[in-house]
Amino acid sequence: MIPAAFEYFTPSTVDEAVALLRDQPDAKVLAGGQSLMPVLRLRLAAPETIVDIGRIGELQGVRDDGDALVIGAMTPHSTVQADPLVGEHARLVSLATATIADPQVRHRGTFGGSLAHADPAGDLPAVAVALDASFVIAGPDGRRTVAAADFFEGVFSTALAEDELLVEVRVPKYTGWGAHYEKFNRVAQQWSIVAVAAAVRLDGDSIAEARVGLTNMGSTPIRASAVEAALVGRPATPEAVREAAALAADGTSPVSDLNGDADYRRHLASVLTRRAVLSAAGTG
């Protein structure tokens, strides 16, 4: 199928892009396009205006900003995945990114695009929430920063207004933390049925700090705070982690579909949390 016709703009700055989003009717941002394109081709959406932000240089790249990494919204997954700064300070991001879709999609798909798309089964939102990332958003009135926990509002819905653009994401440094992204699906290309993002800092043999995020356990990514609290101060042993992981499904409201009902997803959340945490701690 061929998408319906649209007006096409290629702004070269963020300000231009924001102005277009404000002024053009029914405008949709085209980032990497890996989620948008199928929707357009199937004509499930037919926006009048497409604002292609692929030629805005300032949206690209990863930079070190002291206690945080800053990842440009248009940085392709393949770049993020291979970036040495990300590997050193936010390994969970590298690991989760490597599981997204397939290599071709990772060459085009972007860090910011995935987050702004806010698919409950997408891999990066849970990571952003677990790592307390913050989202820098540009709008007609300037820039604002939104915490990851406040960015995701529902299925495909975020704090971004229609005339706003996600510019970059600040990820605090987790240097020296262990990390693991445990993704569960039926075929490699499939979206997550459930996935768990975990990062832990060990102090000797015990867990000093933990961050756990859940993918597809509700309409937004979920921070498994009860698990995190239960892990702190405990040894990174299978028994201790199993106990903490049993709390993973607390407060979640997963969907039921062909891949599993809500009970099954809750069960998976706890199994996968245990595995993710143990792997992150290097004891899995």
Binding site: A5, P38, L42, R186, G260, Y264
Partner: protein, 794 residues
């Protein structure tokens, strides 16, 4: 008779690299969608979003006025012209079927049925205009469940008065092929083993990689039709019959065709409509479906419900099998929709000697996409049923799964064997294939490991699945087809042209779309005529080049089409003999043909086929006593089916915490008779295994309660990728067929037929001790986990 030795001949048995590859690896391909003709118009279809509805109004005004639009046609516009799509197989004389229009006129019976089409200057404009067509529907209750359909509580086609298309039965007692199954069941109930089981064969989608595409060029002299089809010869005949165009004015070309798997064994609404559009506009027209259209509207496969009763003695000797099945036709009957369960009906006894057998099959209509052939067509369903039952029997008896099979199977010295289903198995050696598989698989070691894991309560359990199968290949003797109610024949045709420069053209009526006939037929002819492999060109898939043929499906091409090629080659040799005698001034009786050369016995004198071909071209020295032509035709009707067989062993690891299954090893030993090209055969097995495993683990066409296809894209319809499949260990034994000259059998469907039960048996075997005796297909992690939960409770 069983041997794995290399063939003594030069070409047959040689893993020749394929001739087809040169264009395919460089992108110099000839897909239908590549074709561009001057002035060509493009079609877009409007399809019903409802499974069952009456069309109350269609507003096409805006579409007609849209830019680039040449024509907009609705069912009402072409009602008198479109005729009805054919079903070629009435399995019983009283078979019922609704009229099957290419475009719905006032009633739609499945979501995806075409209700209007746009003909426009380009594809984008055609799509745009299609969006402007406004169709009013009055929704009707859809019939979606095949068992409910059989009760006629609600009708898929109210005008038909029933959902039941046909009921077909076979009983060994009345057929005289065996005893009375009811007596066997009674005896088993009184003092033996009785296993009752229901199996759902889920609906699958063939999902060939090349979406279907049609280009029609209408000239006053000829209607030329390019189509991505397995059956160009069928398409030609049916265009003539359905649209009233003289057959002599139709040329159908199947250029490069990107896979079929039965899914392109069809005469389609889209073909009819593209011809109509071309005829009406007088311009070349193209229709290329999108993947979502393909998944929704190209015919589906499988979709049966089976109720099985197996009777056996306490020692595990099977005494009878009773099968009741309901098969979902979907909304209409396609070419051979109604006969798919029949092709399985003769195979439920598998490789075994059952004393009694009864089958009753009920074909029903529902408001879903029509079903028809998909790789294996009836035989995977039958094989799955019996192989699952044999595992259940082994469990009941407390015997090894292989041992219980050996107890019941036909011994190699018992061939040919007349089965309880009324077929004659030509040859086989189940002992040899099984012994080889067992060794390659390291069966005993894996059983030991399995035991260890069970005892230690490992969260990851190991299961071993067995599948011993046979299937009927070489569709089919024409008289058998006729006796079963099929309107066509099962012969195949070939021609050989000996060109003056020593090159050879082989024209085949088969229509390959990945099977490598260009290579394999060259090997057969090279050996027979003693000409070089590279001097042979195989032509196919164009009714003007290969006017006689019945195309490619049902693992028939080699056993029927390849043997027709061989017969044509023999005729060339025969025709060359008197000519060689003249030219060599020798007595015909003194000539012998060997290594591509006619020689005069006891002398150095002789002529090669190339020399003979040139001499015939010149004609200078021919005295007229023999026809001055070496070219020959042959039509071959197989004397009977051939029955390949094999033993497949699969080891799976089941993660009992998540329900996830992963295949750890897979061994197949297949006996497909004599092999022309072992490389191609191995490739066919690999691909077949992938599709059979996909049925076991991944694929299912799912509809929601309103009849919409939920698995309508590759996001939901899970065709496995390389990352989702294991490496296979494949090997062969070789027991020549006795029903054809070369001893070949057929391999296109074997892997698919054998692998599904091997995988499911392995899963059940892994968790049987946890209270699980079945998992419905596809065995998703969720379903395995649920079965484990239920097993723990019971």
């Amino acid at each position: 008779m069983t041997t794995t030795e290399a063939r003594p001949t030069a070409e047959v048995g040689n893993p020749r690299r394929r001739k087809e590859d040169a264009r395919l690896v460089t992108g110099r391909t000839r897909w239908t969608d590549n074709i561009v003709l001057p002035g060509m118009l493009h079609l877009a279809m409007v399809r019903s979003p409802f499974a069952h509805a009456r069309i109350t109004a269609i507003d096409t005004e805006a579409a007609r006025a849209a830019t680039g639009v040449i024509a907009v046609l609705t069912g009402a516009d072409i009602a008198d012209e479109q005729g009805a799509l054919p079903n070629a197989w009435a399995i019983v004389p009283e078979q019922k079927a609704p009229v099957h229009p290419s475009m719905a006129v006032d009633h739609v019976a499945f979501a995806g049925e075409i209700v209007a089409m746009v003909v426009a200057r380009n594809a984008a404009e055609a799509n745009d205009a299609a969006d402007l067509i406004d169709v009013d529907y009055e929704e009707l209750p859809p019939v979606l469940d095949l068992r409910q359909a059989a009760t006629d509580s609600s009708l898929a086609h109210p005008d038909l008065g029933t959902n039941v298309s046909a009921v077909w039965s076979f009983d060994s007692a009345s057929a005289g092929t065996g005893g009375d199954v009811e007596a066997a069941i009674t005896a088993a109930r009184d003092g033996g083993i009785l296993i009752e089981k229901e199996i759902r064969q889920q609906r699958l989608i063939p999902a060939f990689m090349e979406p279907r595409s049609i280009v029609v060029d209408p000239t006053p002299e000829q209607m030329t039709v390019w189509s991505s089809t397995q059956v160009p010869h069928f398409v030609k005949i049916f265009i003539a019959l359905v649209l009233g165009i003289p057959e002599s004015k139709i040329r159908v070309i199947a250029p490069d065709v990107g896979g079929g798997f039965g899914g392109k064994l069809q005469f389609t609404p889209e073909e009819v409509l593209t011809v109509i559009a071309a005829r009406r506009t007088g311009k070349p027209c193209k229709y290329s479906e999108s993947r979502s259209e393909s998944l929704m509207a190209a015919h589906h496969g499988r979709d049966q419900w089976q109720k099985l009763t197996l009777a056996a003695t306490n020692d595990g000797d099977v005494t009878g099998l009773k099968v009741e099945l309901i098969a979902d036709m979907g909304a209409y009957l396609g070419l051979v929709t109604s006969a798919i369960p029949l092709l399985g009906a003769f195979m439920y006894n598998g490789i075994y000697k059952f004393p009694s057998y009864h089958l009753k099959c009920t074909n029903v209509f529902t408001n879903k996409t029509w079903t028809d052939a998909y790789r294996g067509a009836g035989r995977p369903e039958a094989t799955f049923a019996i192989e699952r039952l044999m595992d259940e029997l082994a469990a009941k008896v407390g015997a090894d799964a292989l041992a219980i099979r050996e107890r019941n199977w036909i011994k190699h010295e018992e061939f040919p064997f007349a089965t309880v289903a009324g077929l004659k198995y030509d040859s086989g050696n189940y002992e040899a294939a099984t012994a080889k598989a067992r060794e390659l698989f390291r069966y005993d070691e894996l059983r030991a490991e399995q035991l260890k894991r069970r005892e230690s309560g490992d969260p990851v359990q190991l299961g071993i699945g067995v599948s011993t199968y046979t299937e009927m290949c070489g569709l089919a003797p024409s008289r058998w087809l006729g006796s079963m109610g099929y309107v066509g024949g099962g012969w195949e045709h070939a021609s050989i042209r000996m060109l003056p420069t020593g090159k050879v053209e082989v024209i085949t009526g088969t229509s390959p779309h990945g099977q490598g006939h260009e290579t394999a037929w060259s090997q057969i002819v090279a050996d027979r005529l003693g000409v070089g492999f590279d001097d042979i060109e195989v032509l196919h898939g164009d009714t003007q080049v290969a006017p006689r043929g019945l195309d490619t499906y049902g693992s028939r091409s080699l056993a029927v089409g390849g043997m027709a090629v061989l017969a044509a080659a023999d005729r060339v040799i025969e025709k060359a003999k008197p000519i060689a005698a003249q030219l060599l001034e020798a007595n015909v009786d003194d000539l012998e043909f060997s290594g591509g050369r006619y020689g005069v016995r006891g002398t150095e004198s002789g002529m090669t086929m190339a020399e003979l071909a040139f001499a015939v071209f010149q004609g200078h020295k021919l005295d007229g006593s023999a026809e001055g032509c070496l070219d020959a035709d042959a039509t071959l009707d197989p004397e009977d089916f051939s029955f390949p067989h094999g033993t497949h062993l699969c080891a799976v690891e089941v993660d009992t915490e998540t329900g996830a299954t992963s295949i750890r090893s897979y061994v197949s030993v297949d006996d497909v008779g004599v092999v022309v090209n072992p490389m191609i055969v191995e490739g066919q097995v690999h691909g077949g295994l992938a599709q059979g495993i996909a049925q076991a683990l991944f694929e299912e066409a799912v509809h929601d309660e309103s009849g919409t296809l939920v698995s309508g894209s590759f996001v939901e319809y899970l065709v496995p990728s390389s990352a989702d499949l294991p490496s296979f260990t494949t090997a062969r034994t070789e027991t020549p067929s006795t029903t054809n000259q070369l001893g070949v059998k057929g391999v296109g469907e074997a892997g698919t037929i054998a692998s599904t039960p091997a995988v499911v048996n392995a899963i059940v075997d892994a968790v049987r001790h946890l209270g699980v005796s079945d998992v419905p297909m596809p065995c998703t992690p969720y379903r395995v986990w649920k079965a484990l939960q239920e097993g723990a409770q019971s």
